[in-house]
């Protein structure tokens, strides 16, 4: 039995968790989210390099919430998103136990301080292909970048897999689904697609933890996570605020300091 299975079994047996949200074997050699409720089923749990989807996204689902207190198998990216969810008052730290997994080590994290220490020690790894695209985008002129995104986004049919896979897209009614008034073009034409993705990037600015789930989820293969990632990098550069590191951090773009160096604040 793996260390993860042992720890998950103990959490379920002791009642510290009623469900363990983790990864299990799926079809086609892929892994998939599994919801383990009994000690007998912990053998379903696996953790290896294929486990990249951010499982904290399931915490917002009502049917998962009704299963009771959750323990969640978390990658470094998922740990950060959980911290961000706590900072945004979406998750009560007392309601969730974390089994932080990284390569072979499994660490049980039960309080905000432990989550923060873990996040500080475990940077999120950006996949090499994402890095390569980011670097090539940085070398492009604004016009070339626009052409790049126009071509990529022409594949978007607005299935919203990016939104559904994102732990921090937790709005029960997304701005793009508002119709009275309609803020964003709902139609999946070029303008509607661009409006949606720019809106999401702006909404994620300073909040995206760069877990990569949105990019992996996209059925059309669009490297869509780069937009939110870049927006978050700008916030980090301008305000020194990095998402997913502190459970009590005020949101970078919806708070202000009276002594801000910018004169327009007050």
């Amino acid at each position: 039995m793996s260390a993860l299975q042992v720890q998950a079994g103990e959490l379920l047996a002791s009642g510290k968790a009623e469900v363990v949200i983790g990864y299990g074997e799926g079809t086609r050699g892929r892994v998939r989210p599994v919801f383990v409720r009994t000690r007998a089923d912990v053998s379903l749990l696996v953790f290896d390099g294929r486990c990249t989807a951010n499982l904290t996204v399931y915490l917002a689902k009502p049917e998962v919430g009704r299963m009771g207190k959750a323990a969640i198998v978390a990658t470094p990216g998922a740990v950060r998103s959980l911290i961000q969810l706590i900072a945004e008052h979406q998750v009560d730290p007392g309601e969730v136990v974390v089994l932080a997994a990284d390569d072979d080590a499994v660490t049980l994290l039960t309080d905000p301080a432990a989550l923060e220490a873990y996040a500080a020690a475990h940077p999120v790894t950006i996949p090499p292909e994402a890095k390569a695209v980011t670097e090539s985008l940085a070398r492009m002129s604004a016009q070339e970048r626009r052409a790049f995104w126009d071509a990529e986004l022409s594949r978007c049919f607005k299935c919203y897999a990016c939104r559904s896979a994102c732990a921090l897209c937790y709005c029960t009614r997304c701005i793009t689904d508002m119709n009275q008034p309609q803020w964003v073009c709902v139609a999946p034409h070029a303008l509607g697609v661009m409006e949606w993705h720019l809106n999401r990037a702006m909404h994620m600015a300073g909040r995206c933890v760069q877990c990569g789930s949105c990019t992996s989820a996209c059925p059309a293969g669009i490297p869509i996570g780069l937009l939110a990632m870049e927006a978050s990098r700008s916030v980090e550069k301008e305000f020194g605020a990095q998402a997913g590191l502190r459970c009590d951090a005020p949101p970078a773009l919806s708070s202000f300091a009276a002594d801000d160096r910018e004169s327009f604040i007050l």
Binding site: P33, E63, D177, H189, G221
Partner: protein
């Protein structure tokens, strides 16, 4: 018409497709972008991808675009001018590289839009579409066409079906007058042939036995508890519906201002939380449990009851696209067993 047989080399097939584009007809065929394959407007036949498996996105958009303008309106003094879209202007298109499951789906999709009041946009597009399909030599673990009313060499819905028969050569079946018309222009590129047994060149598709009595079982399974566990990991996106060659739900959106704008028809998905949200705020499908049940019920119970065939051709696209690995083959097998267990005396 009776089926006409011919033989065509790969090189001449490319010449024929080039001829189609040169002759002013729009050609759509699979093109690769990164790891994904899409049906794109092709102007250079060297861009066509001859990948053995179905494309990432289905050819559905050729009949039912992801967004289309139905009409536009503008205030003109005291009156309102409405410009209807004219279906008669839709161009003749040749769609190449569809797999037999795709062609079957195009036919079923057209039938769906012709049921009751015919949808003139979809109808006209179907009328103008020439479908040249390729038989499948390969199937993967997500395919189940042979259990879903089709097969790797099925010509249903195609005007011409090509089966690679070794040595860069295709056995050609010309199945319709429309197919014969297109070929007539390119008489020198292919040879007459006789009916050939192509079964040796076709993929072996793993059967999905659970599908046989699935629809009948579903009829009594609305209140079953199987749906909750089956749908727990579903993220509620529309990836499955949007890559599906047969999902046909849409949403009508008005765009613009009260004095000038358009009425658009956009793809929609029963997986979305807003899909059945009422104005009152009540949602009869409040969680993914009810939404996943609807998807399965619609495809395998309601569609067969209404049209005599499932809303699925077993192409496997949804299984390949799902970010949460909601594999349809596996789901059907599991739901079938789960429902049987519950209804056992």
């Amino acid at each position: 018409m009776s089926t006409h047989h011919g033989v065509l080399s790969h090189q001449n097939l490319l010449k024929l497709l080039s001829g189609i584009t040169a002759g002013g007809m729009e050609l759509y065929a699979p093109r690769k972008t990164g790891q994904k394959v899409f049906f794109d407007h092709i102007t250079d036949v060297r861009e066509i991808a001859f990948d053995p498996l179905p494309t990432t996105e289905s050819p559905k958009a050729l009949l039912f675009p992801r967004v289309e303008r139905l009409l536009s309106f503008a205030r003109d003094g005291e009156s309102m001018r409405v410009d209807d879209r004219c279906a008669d202007l839709m161009p003749r298109r040749v769609l190449f590289g569809t797999r037999p499951c795709d062609a079957v789906a195009l036919q079923r999709l057209a039938e769906f839009f012709a049921d009751g009041i015919e949808d003139m946009f979809v109808g006209k597009r179907r009328e103008q579409l020439v479908v040249i399909s390729l038989s499948c030599a390969v199937a993967d673990a997500d395919c189940f066409c042979t259990s879903a009313g089709s097969g790797p060499g099925d010509g249903t819905g195609s005007d011409i079906l090509l089966t690679a028969s070794g040595g860069e050569r295709y056995d050609m079946e010309v199945l319709t007058d429309r197919g014969r018309e297109v070929l007539a222009t390119f008489a020198g590129l292919w040879d007459e042939g006789s009916p050939a047994d192509t079964s040796g060149y076709l993929a072996v598709v793993e059967p999905l036995p659970a599908l046989a009595g699935f629809g009948a079982k579903l009829a009594g399974a609305f209140a079953s508890t199987v749906w909750k566990d089956a749908s727990l990991r579903c993220l509620g996106c529309g990836a499955c519906a949007y890559v599906c060659p047969l999902c046909s739900c849409f949403d009508i959106e008005d765009e613009g201002t009260p004095s000038k704008g358009s009425r658009l028809r956009c793809w929609d998905s029963c997986g979305f939380s807003l899909f059945t949200l009422h104005t009152s705020g009540h949602n009869p499908r409040p969680t993914q449990t009810e939404r996943w049940r609807q998807r399965v019920m619609h495809k395998f119970s309601y569609m067969p009851a209404r049209f005599g065939h499932a809303g699925c051709v077993g192409c496997g696209r949804c299984s390949r696209a799902c970010p949460a690995d909601m594999n349809l083959r596996e789901q059907i097998t599991m739901l079938d067993a789960g429902i049987a267990l519950q209804s056992a005396p």
